[in-house]
Point group: C2
């Protein structure tokens, strides 16, 4: 059996206009009331989460996830999570580690030797750095059926042309569409 | 048999980061070399064009289409085409008409009485006005497998929240994905 290859996936949930966060950080727009007959039912989130063995996020995304955890619980379970931050601080949970410094070192010295299926879950700035530096292998965008009109844009200003290879398209019963692309290297 | 209902579709071809035109207006990025095994073959463009009975475009899109027509021919055939422009000018082709003025009047007095399947093919500013004014019924976005990084964004700055209903998703063999949404009214 061959070893599963190491892979970093940038995952973003965005509106059709590419917004991943509203200015007030409210998240009710994630709960679409749409109904797409031809769609597939959502995958079992518990089963799916098991395949991810490390999360990476920026410090603002971490702060936001902490804030949300007060109402909904911590979204990333016990999976090891690395927060990329210029400032060092003591994380609120055992499975969270703070990383300051060079992203190439993060990937080669910390992630590659230990993990296989790493997900970068935000924010936009960190995602763009990973794409620019060709450190990410895949982009997975989940498009919610809404135009938000303003807010934080996922890919705006990335200032870098990057050809992609379409890997998969999944449309769900709730109107969400997931596009999965390989980042060509 | 019931009469086909009147419908205005906003159609845009964009990169994954929502760019519809590069700064230099070059269009080679439309020619993807991607290969998506699970995709369907492209529809017959001639057959498809027959279902559209009127095109609407802004004056910059018209200028750009004229420029491209020198190399590739006029993309919109003999289908009646309305160019929305503040300035009146004599169009280069018989089937092109210039419209200056109120967009609601354009729809109610010119389009609705005469046409059924109207396509708004650009630019971004006109598309956004149609969406804001709820004059468009559908949005059809064709996503090319590339991140462009900079250029003219389709929906940026629309400044208006608009729920959508997913109507259809089609992935093509060449890696293009077409998302079709109803604009909820």
């Amino acid at each position: 059996m061959t070893k599963d290859p190491f892979k970093i996936t940038v995952h973003m949930v965005s509106s059709l206009d590419g917004i991943i966060a509203k200015r007030d950080n409210s998240v009710s727009w994630f709960d679409t009331t749409d109904n797409y007959e031809k769609g597939v039912a959502g995958e079992n989130p518990e089963e799916f989460l098991k395949t991810i063995d490390c999360y990476v996020m920026g410090s603002l995304t971490y702060q936001h996830a902490l804030e949300l955890s007060k109402s909904y619980g911590w979204a990333y379970g016990d999976v090891p999570t690395i927060v990329v931050s210029h400032k060092n601080f003591k994380p609120e949970r055992m499975n969270i580690e703070v990383f300051s410094g060079d992203l190439i070192k993060l990937v080669n010295e910390k992630l590659k030797p230990t993990y296989k299926n790493v997900w970068l879950v935000g924010g936009a700035m960190l995602a763009k750095q990973f794409i620019r530096l060709k450190l990410a292998d895949e982009i997975r965008v989940t498009i919610i059926p809404i135009i938000l009109g303003e807010g934080l844009s996922f890919l705006e200003g990335i200032g870098h042309e990057q050809p992609l290879h379409l890997l998969d398209v999944t449309a769900y019963k709730n109107g969400l569409v997931e596009l999965r692309y390989e980042i060509k290297k």
